[in-house]
Amino acid sequence: MDMYTSAAIILGVMVLVYFIALWVKLSTELAMLVAALAGAVAGGHFFPARHVAEGAITYLDINLIFICATLFMNILKESGGVAFVVRSIIKTFHNSRVLLLILLSILLLIPGALTGAGSVTVLITGGMVAVVLNYMGISKIKTAAIIFLIAGLSAAAPPVSLWAMMTAAGVNMPYVGFFWPLLIPCVTGALFTVFFLGWKGTKIDVGKAFEELPVPPEKMNWTRIIIPFVIFFGLMFMGRKWPHDTPVVGLPLMFLFAALASYLLSPKKLDFFRISADTIKQLLPLIGTLTCVGILVQIMTLTGVRGLLAITFITLPAYLVIGSLFFFLPITESVLMYGSAAVFGVPLVLLFNSMGLNPIIALAGMSVIWPLGDALPPTAIIGRLTVDVAGAKDSYGKFLKQCIVPAIVIMILGTLMVLYSKQLGFLTGL
């Protein structure tokens, strides 16, 4: 049997088993695991223990970041810090909607831009921004859409854009010249999103907001809130400013230090172990999904299914490749997450380079589109996390519906950058 036939049959088995698993009411993550195991068996690997274990740790670092950042945010919330910040923002800016929307966009853009992870934006500032947006008369589902889309753009924004960095590393291209090509579309997309979804609303009723918002402990103040953030960003700053004199601690430990500071500075006594246990319970579905996606990708690679998908896409006519980037990249992101940069980003950039397009601008354009896939099943990691953080109780489909218009604008922006990358080449030298 040739490789095309065998990979196509295995892909068919995996898809079939995945849907049967969903039909018998298994969760998404378990359905992926079962589909992966079925694919392995179809490929002649009857007890792929090593591949299951190796695939499962693919996203170990990202899982650790999720856990530590969420723990930090939960401690801050329980100590009354979040309520304090929200009250202060409302008190100071309730008269200017434009200023408030711009401020909230900046608050959402910074954490992801510095870490390359949209999840960090959602976990660090997402909760606070959500509360303020709700008081501005924006529904929880719209709020979730705003946070998700800007978090995605923050991840693509410079200085750290993992999709661009991983692809650039794969083609041996220095990660240089990306600052403006990434910053301009990210800021444009973020401002469009926040004004499109957030302009219509109501004036903040300060009295009502203050009545409804939890009252922070009396001793809560800015110092207690800011110090953990100073520790987090201070560690990051030191790593950037003096990279060769600062030990590498990694993002998870930075978040843990911030969590510890927040715990010690809390004006009221907190039950650390209960908050930790709640954090794990809260994140278990996300951790499970990431673990099972890793296993799925490993088995797809082992059996040739990943290669079949990659070769099928990149050998389409050039106009179809560029014309379908807007949905192809998010779809690959929804399955492979950052792995899609290595699997599809590398051949695509090399393809664009051979077509005479500017690889830096084209890659920046693709990097803006990729994060949109974080809302799509089967993983939908950041999308689900955002809906959870924003406290939206509507169906997930409604959340996706709210994202559509800004997402289309972002897709067009990214596609145009690829298409006109040659003409936009000057941005790399700014």
Binding site: V52, P243, L308, I314, N353
Partner: protein, 387 residues
């Protein structure tokens, strides 16, 4: 929790435990698998730790093989295993250690420049852990590795890797990439300490030429080529022209970009007196479009999906149904190394390096790689060294 739940969770827990134990044993066996290298009378083995205490006793304290002639001459260093997911580099180094006879000058060979990276395979890439080269005595096994140091030896990664001393921003995981960590630093990460130790070796042993052996995916533009520091332009160009004319395969030359930091061909040349060159052979197994992933594909270099990519003009190296077998890839490296030696001798007749016994491209293709490996069971115990 009712009885049914307890039984269900216990069963799942038991299955998880079995997977964990079986996989754990496989990971342990891979990391501690002993590759055998047969050394001749001319070969002396030192450790990288002899050149820098910072790596002494660590997983990266690799073997350094010295093959010295009776007459003085030039010193050339061959680096295999900078990226252990590119096995032709390590196997070429092995063929040289087991076959080279030096009459003039000195050859320094490294099989596992980043030994830590030989002890891990990449999550989600489904690499085989071990592969076997067929030989007359049944076969010899080797570890497949990764591009990056094992996280067991160096972890966590920063959110962005800032190269020393170039300060260039690189992808975070490249902090564990040996060929992004040159020239290294004494108080750096394990990977940086490793390149720092190699720089000490290059300076102390007064190495004239360093050749770093690699393989690349066919969709990568720097392939079938000699990448050279500006100091080695004449050498690389002469070798490339001669090989293309007389050896039966073509190989190009590329100049090391000055703004791309951390690579051996740039930094060794900049920070030592040595000429630095890097060889790239084609490895379809690394292509993102590859199909089934296994030891057979790794060694035979055949892949229908990569062939299709070639038919669409997406590759920078040719490929057909015959693929790129490991003997061909190793043969390209051995012939290129030998030709570089020859070209060096033409430029420096007063300081020659004369090497015999190493099989060339055509010999390797005709007889297979296994024909040039020595059976560890056929030699005295003291003549077998473990990688």
């Amino acid at each position: 929790m009712n009885r049914k739940d307890i039984i269900r969770k216990s069963l799942i827990g038991f299955v998880g435990l079995v997977v964990l134990v079986v996989a754990g044993i496989r990971f342990y066996q891979h990391r501690h698998f002993k590759e055998q290298v047969v050394i001749g009378d001319q070969v002396k083995v030192k450790k990288l730790g002899n050149y820098f205490d910072g790596v002494k006793g660590t997983f990266n304290d690799c073997n350094i093989y010295f093959i010295e002639g009776t007459e003085p001459g030039a010193t050339m260093m061959i680096l295999g295993g900078s990226h252990p997911e590119e096995p032709a580099g390590r196997l070429t180094a092995l063929v040289m250690v087991e076959n080279a006879r030096i009459t003039k000058g000195r050859l320094i060979v490294v099989l596992s420049a980043n030994r830590s990276a030989t002890s891990v395979t990449r999550p989600s890439a489904a690499y085989p852990q071990l592969f076997t080269i067929p030989t007359a005595w049944g076969g010899q096994q080797f570890r497949m590795g990764d591009r990056w140091s094992n996280p067991l030896d160096q972890w966590p990664d920063p959110e962005v890797y800032i190269h020393y001393p170039g300060k260039q921003n690189l992808a975070y995981m490249d902090i564990r990439n040996l060929n992004r960590a040159w020239p290294g630093r004494a108080n750096g990460t394990l990977t940086e300490k490793t390149t720092f130790a190699f720089m000490n070796l290059i300076k102390q042993e007064k190495v004239d030429v360093v050749i770093d052996l690699h393989e690349a995916e066919l969709q990568y533009p720097v392939i079938n080529t000699i990448v050279t520091h500006e100091k080695g332009q004449d050498l690389a160009t002469m070798a490339s022209m001669t090989l293309t004319d007389f050896e039966g395969f073509s190989i190009g030359t590329e100049f090391s970009p000055k703004n791309l930091h951390g690579l051996s061909h740039r930094e060794i040349g900049d920070y030592s007196d040595a000429i630095s060159l890097l060889l790239e052979a084609p490895e379809p197994f690394l292509d993102a479009t590859r199909g089934i992933t296994g030891a057979e594909q790794l060694l035979e270099g055949k892949d229908a999906f990569v062939v299709k990519a070639g038919k669409h003009g997406l590759l920078y190296a040719p490929i057909d149904d015959k693929g790129w077998p490991i003997a061909t890839r190793v043969g390209r490296h051995t012939s290129t190394v030998l030709q570089i030696m020859q070209s060096w001798n033409e430029f420096h007749p007063e300081k020659e390096l004369v090497c015999e016994g190493v099989p060339k491209y055509t010999e390797l293709i005709a007889k297979g790689l296994g024909a040039f490996l020595i059976d560890p069971g056929s030699v005295a115990k003291g003549k077998v060294v473990f990688e």
